[in-house]
């Protein structure tokens, strides 16, 4: 009888351990955080690129900042503000929630897995021929519109830097742009947290003539050229 009881306890322990493992595995969902998107969902969404308008990112930045400073009395309310870069809507897009520390471009550990997922997608074969734009947005949160443009730019830059520096995705393949609240993901609900998501857009094919070298080759090529310079 005693042996049986011990057996039971041991089995219970085993069951408990299994439950603990299951709970640990699903804890992000339990804590109410959005699960990291699947790599193949990102790949499928972003590989559907045929062609699109050319974007001059360096020229867009001052244009966006300039409009965010406008304080005219006739300024339309946020939901009626025309999107500052409407062309962005013509590219294959994947929206991804990334948690940042308040008012900073620091990505919280809760979103590390998501960052890794994006990197996994970017090195996956179907996305190798493409280059991307990381777009940072903002909701209407009472802060100055200019501050929101600046913060969204810094956050888009941070996402790009992690992909380039930590996961060694070729810098040539990724650009970043912050549009703040000059363009919403959900125009009808400017205050919605949906607008805090980061957008990844496939904006171009890596040109055939002078291809952006693959990440690994890019780093070795960079090393070689820096050696030559020395």
């Amino acid at each position: 009888m005693r042996v049986l009881l011990r057996d039971l306890r041991l089995r219970d322990l085993g069951l408990l351990a299994t439950f603990a493992a299951v709970i640990a595995a699903t804890s992000p969902a339990v804590r109410g955080q959005a699960a990291a998107p699947a790599r193949d969902d990102i790949v499928n969404a972003l590989s559907k690129f045929e062609s699109g308008p050319e974007l001059d990112i360096p020229a867009l930045k001052p244009k966006i900042i300039e409009r965010s400073r406008s304080r005219g009395k006739n300024e339309p309310e946020a939901s009626k503000r025309p999107p500052i870069v409407p062309e962005l809507r013509e590219f294959p897009t994947f929206n991804v929630p990334i948690q940042f520390d308040v008012d900073t471009p620091i990505i919280l550990p809760e979103s590390y897995e998501t960052m890794g997922r994006i990197a996994d997608a970017f090195v996956n074969a179907p996305l190798l021929p493409f280059s991307f734009l990381i777009v940072g947005h903002s909701d209407t949160n009472g802060k100055a519109r200019e501050a929101n443009v600046i913060l969204s730019q810094r956050r888009a830059d941070a996402v790009r830097e992690v992909l380039v520096n930590t996961f060694k995705i070729s810098a040539k393949r990724i650009q970043s742009l912050g549009v703040g609240e000059e363009q919403f993901i959900d125009q009808a609900k400017p205050a919605s947290p949906v607008n805090l998501q980061i957008q990844i857009l496939t904006v171009a094919k890596v040109p055939d003539q002078q291809p952006a070298a693959p990440p690994a080759a890019a780093t070795t090529a960079a090393k070689k050229s820096s050696k030559k310079k020395k």
């Binding site: 011990r6 322990l13 809760e110 890794g116 690994a216």
Partner: protein, 139 residues
């Protein structure tokens, strides 16, 4: 008998982590998730203001080892190491698939990524080359 079962139970609990260690190379997302799981609290407490940067975050975590949990102390180098291995795997493809790139795909090992679609579909690709494309995350 009971002791034997306890050992079995411990083995059963440890098995998933052993299997994990035997995995070839973690995906970027698994490695990043492991870092957040092992050291998320430490990062929030001691490395606030440091982004997911292989050098700066690793440096910050190692500087704060004395106040880190045993879990973080034991695991914090693993994700960085795994990320590094996965990046290095992309360079390995050029070597492991040299013959395939030149003969089957008529490409150049200097532009490996251009031959990747061919490497994934061509017939007669060596096991080494196939493994290299898996390790690099191309598949």
């Amino acid at each position: 008998m009971v002791r034997g079962r306890k050992i079995l139970l411990i083995l059963a609990l440890a098995a998933p982590s052993l299997a994990h260690a035997a995995d070839p190379i973690m995906t970027f997302s698994d490695a990043a998730a492991l870092l957040a799981k092992s050291c998320g609290a430490e990062i929030s407490a001691n490395c606030r203001g440091v982004n997911l940067d292989a050098n700066r975050l690793k440096e910050c975590l190692s500087r704060n080892q004395d106040v880190a949990s045993s879990q973080c102390r034991a695991n914090f180098l693993v994700p960085f190491d795994q990320i590094q291995k996965r990046i290095a795997a992309r360079v390995t493809v050029a070597g492991a698939c040299r013959l395939e790139i030149i003969k089957l795909c008529h490409g150049s090992t200097k532009e490996t990524s251009k031959s990747v679609p061919c490497l994934l579909t061509a017939k007669g690709v060596s096991r080494n080359c196939t493994q290299a494309t898996i390790d690099a995350g191309y598949r």
